[in-house]
C-alpha cells in the first residue's frame, strides 16, 4: 500500500507535466485541426532556453521568463511563416501532419547540434520531504503546484474571457465561428501564442523533474498524445484528466505486485492509448462528431 501511494504520487508529478503539455497540444488541435508531432520538441526548446538562463546564474523563476517568451515567439512565428500560408493554400491535415514531423526533426537535432547529447540540470535535486504517506522532492511539489496553477489559468481563460469563448467556438465549428464575426486568423494566432507559452512552461516543468536533454520532449510526445486522446482530442479538460490517468497508470505499472521492468512502463501507457482508441475513440470528454 505504501509503495502504491508513493507510485501514485510520482504519477501525479509526471501526470502534471504531461497535462500542461497536453493542453497546449489539444488547443492547437481544436482550433487548427493540426496534430503537431513537433510539440514534444517545442517543450525541449523551452527547457533549453531556461538552461541557458540558469547557466548565467539566474534563478529558475527568472530564467523561465525568456523561455516562455521564446516559446510564444517561436510558435507565433511558425504560424506566420509556415502554418498560416499553408492553411490558406488549402493544405490537408495529412500534409500538415507530415510537415510537423519534418519540423520536429529540424528542431530536435538543431538543439542536439548546439547543446550536444549531454544532460543538463537546473540545479541539484533536493532531498525528498516525507509527507507521511509518500515523499516528494521540493521540485516535485513545485511541479504539481505550478502545473495546477497553469491549468486553472487556462480553464478560467477558456470559460471567462472573450478570447477563450472565441477559441471554443472556433474549436466547435470554424465556419460558423467565422460567420458569426469572430476574427479567425487573430484567434488562431492567439491560440498559438498561448500554446507556445504553455509548452515552454511544460518543458521547464519536465526539466525540473530531473534532467534536461535534447530528446526529452520527443520521449514524452507519445505520452502527451496518449493523455490527449484518452481525454478526448480537442477537449482541454479531457486532456488534463487523461494526462493524470496516463501518469498514474505508467507509474503503478512498476508496482512490485505487477513486477514490470521500469523500461516497459511507457509501453503500458501506450497500450492504454491504443485500447482507448479502439473502445472509445472520442475519449472520456470528447464528442463523437469531433472524429
Amino acid at each position: 500500500m505504501e509503495e502504491a501511494l508513493q507510485l501514485i504520487a510520482n504519477g501525479v508529478v509526471i501526470g502534471s507535466v504531461i497535462a500542461v503539455a497536453a493542453v497546449g497540444l489539444t488547443l492547437v488541435f481544436g482550433v487548427l485541426r493540426l496534430i503537431n508531432f513537433a510539440h514534444g520538441d517545442f517543450l525541449t526548446l523551452g527547457a533549453f532556453v531556461a538552461v541557458v538562463g540558469t547557466g548565467f546564474g539566474l534563478p529558475l523563476y527568472v530564467a523561465a521568463i525568456p523561455a516562455l517568451l521564446v516559446g510564444a515567439a517561436f510558435a507565433g512565428g511558425l504560424e506566420k511563416v509556415l502554418w498560416g500560408p499553408l492553411r490558406r493554400r488549402g493544405a490537408s491535415t495529412v500534409n500538415l501532419l507530415i510537415i510537423s514531423i519534418g519540423l520536429a526533426l529540424v528542431v530536435r537535432y538543431t538543439i542536439f547540434w548546439i547543446f550536444g547529447s549531454g544532460v543538463y540540470r537546473y540545479g541539484p535535486v533536493s532531498q525528498r520531504i516525507d509527507f507521511g504517506l509518500f515523499a516528494l522532492t521540493p521540485q516535485d511539489v513545485v511541479i504539481i503546484v505550478g502545473s495546477a496553477a497553469a491549468l486553472v489559468g487556462v480553464a478560467l481563460m477558456l470559460q471567462k474571457t472573450r478570447i477563450g469563448k472565441a477559441m471554443r467556438a472556433l474549436s466547435d465549428n470554424r465556419d460558423l465561428a467565422e460567420a458569426s464575426g469572430i476574427d479567425v486568423e487573430r484567434i488562431t494566432m492567439i491560440t498559438w501564442l498561448i500554446a507556445g507559452v504553455l509548452t515552454a512552461y511544460g518543458g521547464i516543468m519536465l526539466g525540473l523533474q530531473g534532467r534536461v536533454f535534447a530528446n526529452m520532449g520527443w520521449f514524452l510526445l507519445l505520452l502527451i498524445f496518449a493523455g490527449v486522446i484518452l481525454g478526448g482530442i480537442g477537449s482541454a479538460y479531457g486532456a488534463m484528466i487523461g494526462s493524470m490517468i496516463i501518469g498514474i497508470t505508467q507509474e503503478l505499472a512498476t508496482h512490485s505486485a505487477i513486477g514490470l521492468p521500469s523500461d516497459l512502463k511507457t509501453g503500458v501507457a501506450f497500450l492504454a492509448l491504443i485500447v482507448v482508441l479502439l473502445v472509445r475513440p472520442q475519449g472520456i470528454m470528447g464528442r463523437k462528431q469531433a472524429l
Binding site: L97, I98, G102
Partner: protein, 306 residues
C-alpha cells in the same frame, strides 16, 4: 570512392524495398502508416531468432520472416485500420515503439531477443552460401547488393502488375474516396487489410536484408527515425509512383552518405550525424510544401485535401 558507391547502392536497395511496402500503404491505398519500422524489425528478428536460437536453415527463416511480418501487419491492422488517417498515424507509431520496448525488456521475450545485447552470428551462413552458387568472386557486400536489387526488381514488377489489376484499382479507389468504394459494395476493410499485410511482408524482407548488412540485431536500431527515412524516400521519389521508391532511395542515400566526404576538421562525426537528421527534416518539409507529389509522382495521383 568504390566503397562509397557500393554502400550507397546497397543501403539504397534495402530502403527502396522498405519504401515500396510503404508506397503500397500510403501511395496506393492512402493508409497513413507511421509504424513501418515495426514490420522491418519483425522480419529481422524472426530470421535472427529462428536461425541462431532454433537452428532453422536460412531460406526457411527468410520465408518465416515474411510470414511473421504479414501476421504483424494483420495484428496491427485489425484494430487500427478503421481509424481516421491521423489517428492511424498515432496508433502505428505507438505500436512501433511498444514493439521495440518489448524486444528490449519484456520478461520472457528477452530470452529470445537477448534484450539490449542483441543477436549476432546469423549472417555467416548467408555469405558462405555465395561460393556454393558460384558467386565466390563477389565480395560479401556485392553479393548482398545483387540479391537486394533482384528483390527490388521482382517486388517492383509484382506491385506494378497488382496495381494495374482490378484489385489495385480498388485500392486507389479507397485512397480517393472510401465511401464511394463502399457504396459499390466492396469490402473496404478487407482490401485495406490485404494492402497492409502485403506491404508489411515487403518491409519484413527488407528487415532481413538490413540485418544481414549490419550483421547484428539490437532493439534500439529500430527507432521511429527508420520510418521517417522511408517516408522521406517515398515522398522524395513520388508516392504512388512505381519508380519513386527506387529513385528516391538512391538520391536520399547519395546525399546522406555524401556527408562522409566532409573533412572531419570542418565538422565532427557527431555533428555530421545531427546535420543529417536536420537535413531529413528539412527535406520532408520542403517536399510537402513545394512539391508534394515528389520527383516522379503526378499531381493527379496526390490527394491533397483528404
Amino acid at each position: 570512392m568504390i566503397p562509397y558507391v557500393e554502400g550507397v547502392i546497397l543501403t539504397a536497395g534495402i530502403f527502396a524495398l522498405l519504401a515500396q511496402g510503404l508506397n503500397l500503404h500510403w501511395g496506393f491505398t492512402g493508409l497513413l502508416n507511421f509504424g513501418h519500422v515495426a514490420f522491418f524489425a519483425v522480419g529481422a528478428y524472426t530470421m535472427g531468432i529462428l536461425n541462431t536460437q532454433l537452428g532453422v536453415p536460412l531460406l526457411p527463416s527468410f520465408l518465416a520472416a515474411m510470414v511473421a511480418a504479414t501476421l504483424m501487419g494483420i495484428i496491427v491492422g485489425l484494430p487500427a485500420i478503421r481509424l481516421r488517417t491521423d489517428y492511424l498515424a498515432i496508433v502505428t507509431i505507438t505500436i512501433g515503439e511498444i514493439f521495440r520496448l518489448v524486444l528490449k525488456s519484456a520478461p520472457g521475450v528477452t530470452e529470445l531477443t537477448r534484450g539490449p545485447r542483441g543477436i549476432r552470428g546469423f549472417s555467416n551462413e548467408f555469405y558462405f552460401f555465395r561460393t556454393d552458387i558460384g558467386l565466390g568472386f563477389l565480395s560479401p557486400d556485392q553479393y548482398l547488393l545483387l540479391i537486394v536489387w533482384i528483390t527490388v526488381a521482382v517486388v517492383g514488377v509484382l506491385l506494378w502488375v497488382l496495381i494495374k489489376s482490378p484489385w489495385g484499382r480498388v485500392l486507389k479507389g479507397i485512397r480517393e474516396d472510401e465511401d464511394a468504394v463502399r457504396a459499390l459494395g466492396k469490402n473496404v476493410t478487407a482490401y485495406k487489410m490485404q494492402s497492409f499485410a502485403l506491404g508489411a511482408a515487403i518491409a519484413g524482407l527488407a528487415g532481413v536484408y538490413f540485418a544481414m548488412d549490419i550483421g547484428s540485431l539490437a532493439p534500439d536500431t529500430y527507432l521511429p527515425i527508420i520510418t521517417f527515412q522511408a517516408w522521406t524516400i517515398m515522398m522524395l521519389g513520388g508516392s504512388a509512383s512505381h519508380w519513386g521508391p527506387i529513385v528516391g532511395s538512391i538520391i536520399f542515400w547519395a546525399i546522406f552518405n555524401g556527408t562522409l566526404f566532409i573533412p572531419r576538421e570542418i565538422i565532427s562525426g557527431a555533428e555530421a550525424a545531427y546535420l543529417r537528421q536536420i537535413g531529413i527534416g528539412a527535406l520532408i518539409m520542403a517536399i510537402m510544401i513545394f512539391r508534394p507529389q515528389g520527383i516522379l509522382g503526378s499531381r493527379e495521383e496526390m490527394i491533397l485535401d483528404k
